[in-house]
């Protein structure tokens, strides 16, 4: 077998290969120093990702329900807010919060792609293109790092979910700063 492509190394680690393909990769990796080194590099990246997710202070990211569950189960301090379209939500970040999770309800039926925009005072602060939709929960979720959010002043955010040209949800979050 010639050297293993990155895609196959990733598929090997994530158990996506057929038994025959897996056996071929293993036989090659056990005898090829370069491919072994490359496989280790991918495995190390995977471990690094998990370490970062668990870090105190939180790692801001788009979320799904299973990610949110695992973060909470592992003892990260998570504060959650949920909003339906049109809601005005008063929110804050705790002194010890690792993550602040926002769950946005919306009618996502038949929608393949949604972009999320975050604005304040009419100024666009962030745009998340193709934000993952949690189909089980029927929500778009994201997590803000507690560490970073504690540096924010009190301010009001406008969040929109946009599908193509259509706004499918608009939400207002009144961030009050840090609470005990």
């Amino acid at each position: 077998m010639s050297c293993v492509a990155l895609a196959a190394l990733v598929d090997y680690l994530t158990a996506e290969l057929s038994p025959d393909e897996e056996a071929q990769v293993e036989e090659h990796v056990f005898s090829c120093d370069d491919c072994h080194r490359r496989l280790r590099a991918v495995a190390d990246l995977g471990r690094g990702v998990a370490q970062l997710a668990r870090r105190r202070g939180g790692f801001g990211m788009p979320l799904t329900g299973s990610l949110a569950q695992k973060l909470a189960a592992e003892g990260l301090r998570v504060r959650e807010y949920r909003a339906a379209p049109g809601d005005r939500v008063f929110c804050a970040v705790g002194r010890e919060d690792d993550l602040v999770v926002t769950r946005l309800d919306a009618d996502l039926a038949g929608i393949d792609r949604v972009d999320l925009t975050l604005s304040s005072g009419g100024r666009l602060l962030q745009r998340i293109a193709d934000a993952p939709i949690d189909r089980h929960a029927g929500q778009v979720m994201f997590a803000g790092s507690g560490e970073i959010m504690r540096t924010w002043p009190a301010m009001t955010f406008d969040v929109e979910l946009v599908a193509g040209e259509r706004t499918i949800g608009a939400y207002t979050f009144v961030h009050g700063g840090v609470v005990d």
């Binding site: 990155l6 990246l45 990702v49 668990r54 990211m61 979320l63 799904t64 299973s66 990610l67 934000a131």
Partner: protein, 170 residues
């Protein structure tokens, strides 16, 4: 003629060469750092014993032998049957004296964080679901309302970007 002489520094070198490979195999198949470490110990005991006894004579067959032993022992570990504790006494010094992996540079987590921040949202989510939440491709596909084939493509792209960002050659 033996592949290596008993007690030879080459035994320590064998350990250094194959322990990381066995460990990766263990992580993949046993899904636990502890079990992977256990696998390394058990497999290397057998390999070193076999080499000392002259049962593996051709260097070109050694890698296959180690892999085959890893498969057998992993199967035994999964079923809870495998223990060769007695041999640890004979080979403990060899393994204790050899670093199982060269002192690889620790992953720069701050840099990785920046690289992850630079990923498109969907790729970041798939990466997190894969390596942190340890969800299967099918589970991720179901949660995100896509196909497992699409999950694989997104994951490949993400890893390629991460490796490029971290400066590793793929």
């Amino acid at each position: 003629m033996f592949l290596v002489q008993p007690g030879d520094a080459a035994e320590a070198e064998l350990f250094r060469e194959f322990a990381p490979r066995i460990r990766l195999y263990g992580l993949r198949h046993l899904r636990s750092e502890h079990a992977a470490d256990d696998l390394v110990q058990q497999v290397m005991i057998i390999v070193l014993e076999s080499v000392r006894a002259g049962r593996v004579r051709e260097p070109e067959r050694l890698a296959s032998f180690v892999l085959g032993t890893s498969r057998l022992v992993a199967k035994g570990l999964r079923s809870g049957e495998w223990r060769r504790q007695g041999l640890l006494d004979r080979f403990g010094p060899t393994m204790a004296g050899a670093e199982s992996e060269p002192a690889a540079a620790a992953l720069d987590l701050d840099r990785l964080r920046q690289c992850l921040d630079g990923l498109p949202a969907r790729e970041l989510t798939v990466v997190m679901l894969t390596f942190y939440a340890e969800r299967s491709g099918d589970e991720i596909a179901s949660e995100l309302g896509t196909t497992s084939g699409n999950v694989r493509v997104v994951r490949h792209r993400a890893l390629e970007r991460l490796q490029g960002c971290m400066g590793a050659a793929s």
